[in-house]
Amino acid sequence: MIATARVSLTATRTCPDNNKLVAVTTMSPAGCPHVNGFKVDNWKQNLRVIYQCFVWSGSAETRKRKAKSCICHMCGAHLNRLHSCLYCVFFACFAKKHIHEHAKSKRHNLAIDLLYGGIYCFMCQDYIYDKDMEQIAKEEQRKAWKMQGNTVLYRYTCVCVWEKYSTWEPTKRELELLRHNPKRRRITSNCTIGLRGLINLGNTCFMNCIVQALTHTPLLRDFFLSDRHKCEMQSNSCLVCEMSQLFQEFYSGHRSPHIPFRLLHLVWTHARHLAGYEQQDAHEFLIAALDVLHRHCKDDNGKKANNPNHCNCIIDQIFTGGLQSDVTCQVCHGVSTTIDPFWDISLDLPGSSTPFWPLSPGGDGSALNGESHTTGATTLTDCLRRFTRPEHLGSSAKIKCSGCHSYQESTKQLTMKKLPIVACFHLKRFEHSAKLRRKITTYVSFPLELDMTPFMASSKESRMNGQYQQTVDPFNNDNKYSLFAVVNHQGTLESGHYTTFIRQHKDQWFKCDDAIITKASIKDVLDSEGYLLFYHKQFLEYE
């Protein structure tokens, strides 16, 4: 035994050969002393080749070779945790100890696990972790991944990365920062991090309610908390910077309400129509805020000048969807299609001056979304079905048909071409027609989980091809959404108040009423009137 003054780096294990105790190195990134025998000549290149051919095969060629040759040289099995000897070309099972026999008889004491790439040392009788070898393994894995061009599905946690997910390993600088800031915050299930009240600065609840919804939008929160905004605006009036600051305030752990006077000032500067101390419309504020953020974000992208429609800023990535409008000529049945970007969907309600019922046939959206009509209440799905129904444009609104070369009657239909990651539904409760201004308080029931499949352009196409019964693929998760924020308006058109329900963690809901935050039940949320409904995609795909 080696006696040392400091903490021993050795442990003991019983050697199976002679039942004697042997000193073996415990885990450390320095690997083990037995690796040194391997690290000679061109070992790095040799190791790379082994990874490329037999562990992570990226090209079709190497895959074919791997498929054929990776079987146990002793029993022919392809399972049983196959390992490859590092000193010669020999594959053998681990589970049946075939590779152990080889190691003993040939004194080749290193092998590599063909499933996960780990290096096993027969002397230490365990997997060892050598920094240099790990580096090679990581690089080869990344290379193979890139070659395959895979897409992976992740729930909620993505921050739009283009590479294979790998666990985070801190850099030297990050380790330094962690050592200097030893305080750690644990997120438990009843933790209130991210919740903070907002002082009302004089009828500013229309702004406060939207801020609450935005600060609880998971992807937006991830973007700002990982410091992704690099400001290139010269002045101090960047709204994105202010947003970033706002997230810092919300996640600081302070429990006193925040006073958003800087935000209000910036909004007044950039969206003049919202300035003043009178009550404004929360929906208008949402659109104005997204617009300003989008414009200020574009300054991040070098490409903005060329194509204003193909912006890749975080706002576009999260909120922008594509709405398809199909105008069908009633004479020649030619279809003219346009696709427009949208940030929200404004839905008419029953009780307004435009008739709501009847809806068109086809596509049983309500059964899919688990809503029942037994109570007679209008559902969100009803509103969406109405929104996507074919509409006769009437004889007074003839469209010039490029097929017929004359003005003809037509039908128009809206469907979703591309769904945004966050879908915002605006229930049009405020009627401003020539005759009257009023608030429509009809109750509209909305679900916690929403499937947008029936309203997609692709679904419409299959309906038109005669497939009325939508075969719902239970594994297709692309169009599934979860509710995460609800903005409500109480009161009348003249004087009212906005509040927001937001979702914290999976099933905890809180009501945000300016400076006051209270716990809410799911029932409270679903029973509320609903003015703006925010849904987040359940599954996110990387491109």
């Binding site: 442990a11 294990r13 895959r63 074919k64 079987i71 392809h78 997997y127 992976v152 729930r155 594994f475």
Partner: protein, 96 residues
């Protein structure tokens, strides 16, 4: 080798050749993280490490102790989905 294991080997070869095995592995990985299986197993591993002692535990110890529990904890829905994908793949490449 029995006919059954011959078939398995042939299917495995095809899956590797077409890169499908890697895709299935990634899909499985994502599903097992989502349903909380990874966290459950992590907790199991921590228990084994505490039991055996950090200085003495080997990967082999963990594999032996945790594998049966791990297998039992995989949700049926995940198994169903993987099977469905494999069947679909085989249907597409029906030369086997």
């Amino acid at each position: 080798m029995s006919k059954d294991s011959q078939m398995r080997a042939a299917i495995n070869q095809k899956l590797i050749e077409m890169g499908e095995r890697e895709r299935l592995k990634e899909l499985l990985r994502a599903k097992l993280v989502e349903c909380g299986w990874k966290d459950q197993l992590k907790a199991q591993c921590k228990d084994v490490i505490k039991e055996k002692g950090l200085e003495h535990v080997t990967v082999e110890d963990l594999v032996t102790e945790v594998t049966p529990k791990g297998r039992a904890l995989v949700p049926d829905s995940v198994k169903k989905e993987l099977l469905q994908r494999i069947r679909a793949f085989l249907a597409q490449h029906a030369t086997l």
